[in-house]
Symmetry: C2
């Protein structure tokens, strides 16, 4: 029997708050530090590992976190989710994104169909379509091959797929699975669509229109933008566009599209990278096999998230440490720092995933809560960030917990030896050095050069950023955020906070405003 | 006589803390709200305006901020800075970035030369070089024109110039001043350089190596990477590279470069966009006239920053409101939200500018301080952010102050009318709506759909993102951050917090590690 309690009602949370604070600089120094790095590590899928040696935890804190996991029934709640209970209570919906890459529990039937079979069917349809495009069986009206795919979507239909595309672009080129260049149009700013259209050959481009509801203002506006461009080039838009939408949307059965692939209301936009939303563009760009490998990595990681033992469940432990940092230690933000240029937009995706899921002030029953929830998430790739905002991370007045990601090998493999080391070794040396610098600091008589240390971080380490590793990485964070939502007792799967702005924007466009809104509208010449 | 006091020693700060808190939802509603939007606005350069109607201030708070500005001697400190005093006390250096775009006060002589004349000379040398490249007078060895410019630099040699390039790329194309495509190599991750090199025609590319000291590890490594690529293509690297560095650096008089342009120790990397660091790449990309217009906008804004009256000094007021939000209201982060896709990397530049300048825990004398300083800065363009992290901004448990930027007109001008409005109107309607939604909120019986409001924002509004407007925008934030550093009594112009990581990384590469660092190094296969 699952009970949904607020965090501050849990006995184990009160106990957690009373544990002794770990002095990170102390425990991470000397042989004890070396032991921690060896022991505080959990294997992940695709050869990754989650290492939390440099987090402010010890056996006492970990034991308390274990009790919290138990009392908050994290495993049982995850089980309820993947077995098809209505976990998205606000919108009264199932939450089935895990099922786009595997089936963890019972068969789930909804809308009269087996959902796993439905997602597999969509994936197969996409694979078939992509193969035909690559083989030149589906072409433009002149019978010529498509060379570019352009995703039109915003939010979850943009950030995730774009981050995943950038993450695998060089890998695919290196491994001869690169099929088509992908571009993305998201912003309603007309310069976004205009610039992308100016940069491509529209006659050889296929556009993927992505909107679950089929009513997203930005996306429909940009669709018209693209259709105008195709028309102006003397082309038949319906021969250049496919749709990814829900079966009940106005786009689903329209003749305006070459094909339509389906997602449904059980996949939140920000959790849709492994559904048709990511599937269409990534399968077209890299081939369906690469997309399937990406799903495999995610599915393998999902299985680890089922483990009741937090010491063997990287997602659950990461989630619990995050709650401890936010609610007990009082740290208000978290930085995501991948030491991989290919992950340049991964932090932007996690920013949505995390902040839109858990940036809530009411619990899942709509009651106000008395503790803080989701932190601010931000980040840039290392080593770039080292030459930018790391100053504040090292010596600022607030402590910012850090999430590093690093890989032993580069994707392209072209490298250069300078001063006896390769660039890849320099990259790895930097992330190792940063973890220790943040944790241990370094005393200096000159206070301006003094580093207090005590700044916690974890790292996910892998061999190489492959499609499987990327899937595992994505699933890790999706599941982490889900577990944190369970602990905070919020509904991580709705986003009512985005509605008011939409309503007011419509009012501005209809010129139905007064007061401050009217004057701002005048200022902006609307 | 200037005295440098800690913020908490100032009487006016104690008084500020005692002012009544403004109830934003109340004061922004009805006719009072309309009046605030009209009155709480300061003209900026290039037709921009800084509107702070939706900030938590009123006449009482503004009066207290005015007193704080006076007691903290902000105008006098700025005067001391541009007149050439040693404001960067840690490194014992002048701070002269304003002089790259104008002269606000006395002539400043250093290193035996008039510094304004020195910066103008560098700008003229760059303009001459760029014109010759564009005219085909400086070419590759085969006598063919260069078509691409690639900046090699990291941190301030990358983020600012890159953000400015992206900000003006479409404007320049539209206004027929686009000369060459620019690319950027920054990360020591070998995949960064390899991917850029794979995407260009090296035979027709000119590389700008940017390192003040001439010793930046990442930049020198990437230079070798590029030289290898040029050599492998059978090209003479010295015919494809220019250097931007200080006159005393090892790069300054090397035969390895077609030309060298100079900056000096009085320009911090993050403040170097208006020096040769931004000048070379932007003049090559868009022509020296466009770069000159960018400098004009910055120079004009700098003059406004000299005003003693905070109601006529957008930079100083913005700075003071930020301090009030951080130290009195206790908000730990700030989001920068440009409603302009062209400003997609402007927040990343501001993230460095702000966090590296003011993320400090000691005052300018190296003494510990007892109050918080620089906040975490993050942001993405709107409307994209609305479909991402705005959920937390609207309904999360922490309040995040917001900095909007919006323009009445797009850069390219291609647009489409859907439901009676253009995309540009939709973009503007959204930013207007967001300001009011954040400030006023909206009650709903369903607490999940309730918006408490009271979330402060300001907006900088302009006609169009032109080179002048971009210069003004950049100078606004540079000066805001400088004033905040004065208020917090920190040295905003050094960055000792980045040193420890560098030292430890070198140790890792030399295999001189033990304890945790050794095990992390092994994990990462170094």
């Amino acid at each position: 029997m699952i009970t949904w309690n607020n965090l501050d009602k849990l006995t184990s949370y009160q106990e957690l708050a009373k544990t002794n604070k770990v002095k990170l600089a102390e425990v991470m120094s000397g042989e004890n530090g070396a032991k921690r790095v060896k022991n505080y590590s959990i294997p992940m899928a695709a050869g990754l590992a989650y290492n939390y040696a440099a987090k402010q935890v010890d056996e006492e804190v970990l034991a308390a976190l274990g009790k919290l996991a138990e009392e908050a029934q994290l495993t049982e709640k995850f089980e309820a989710l993947y077995n098809g209970e209505v976990i998205n209570t606000g919108e009264k919906r199932l939450v089935l994104h895990h099922m786009t890459r595997g089936q963890l529990g019972d068969a789930v039937e909804a809308d009269g169909v087996d959902k796993r079979a439905f997602y597999v069917e969509q994936q197969e349809k996409i694979a078939d379509f992509a193969n035909k495009v690559h083989a030149g069986e589906i072409t433009n009206a002149a019978g010529e091959k498509f060379t570019t795919v352009v995703q039109i979507g915003i939010g979850g239909s943009d950030l995730g797929p774009r981050a995943m595309y950038l993450a695998l672009e060089n890998w695919a080129k290196k491994n001869n699975t690169f099929k088509m260049e992908a571009k993305f149009i998201s912003n309603v700013d007309p310069d976004d669509a205009a610039a992308v259209l100016n940069s491509i050959d529209v006659a050889h481009s296929i556009f993927v229109l992505v909107s679950k509801s089929g009513t997203t203002l930005e996306t429909l506006t940009n669709e018209s933008f693209v259709k105008d461009a195709l028309k102006n080039a003397g082309l038949d838009a319906s021969k250049h566009m496919i749709a990814v939408t829900s079966e009940t949307s106005p786009l689903a059965k329209s003749d305006d599209y070459l094909a339509a692939f389906f997602m449904d209301d059980y996949i939140g936009g920000r959790f849709s990278s492994t559904s048709a939303v990511g599937g269409a563009v990534l399968s077209l760009a890299f081939g369906p096999e690469v997309f399937a490998q990406f799903l495999e990595g995610a599915a393998e990681e999902d299985k680890l998230a089922m483990n009741k033992d937090i010491r063997q469940n990287p997602e659950m432990l990461d989630a619990l440490i995050g709650v401890y940092e936010r609610n007990v230690l009082g740290y208000p933000s978290t930085a995501v720092l991948p030491y991989s240029q290919a992950l340049s937009r991964f932090p932007a995706h996690l920013q949505q995933l995390d902040m839109e899921s858990n940036g809530k002030s009411v619990n899942r029953f709509g009651e106000p809560i008395d503790y803080v929830t989701g932190p601010v998430i931000f980040g840039e790739p290392g080593t770039n960030g080292q030459h930018s905002f790391y100053q504040l991370l090292h010596q600022g007045t607030d402590i910012v917990p850090l999430q590093f990601v690093g890989f032993k090998n580069s994707q392209i493999g072209t490298d250069v030896v300078i001063q006896d080391s390769t660039s890849q070794q320099k990259l790895c040396a930097n992330v190792a050095a940063q973890i220790v610098a943040f944790a241990c600091g370094k005393e200096d008589e000159n206070r301006n050069k003094n580093f207090e240390g005590g700044r916690p971080s974890s790292i996910i380490v892998g061999d190489q950023l492959t499609p499987q590793a990327l899937g595992a990485l994505l699933a890790h964070f999706e599941n982490k955020i889900m577990f944190q939502g369970f602990v905070w007792n919020v509904n991580s799967f709705d986003q009512e906070g985005v509605q008011l702005g939409k309503v007011l924007a419509k009012r501005v466009l209809a010129h139905e405003t007064d007061g401050a809104l009217k004057v701002f509208s005048d200022l902006l010449n609307i």
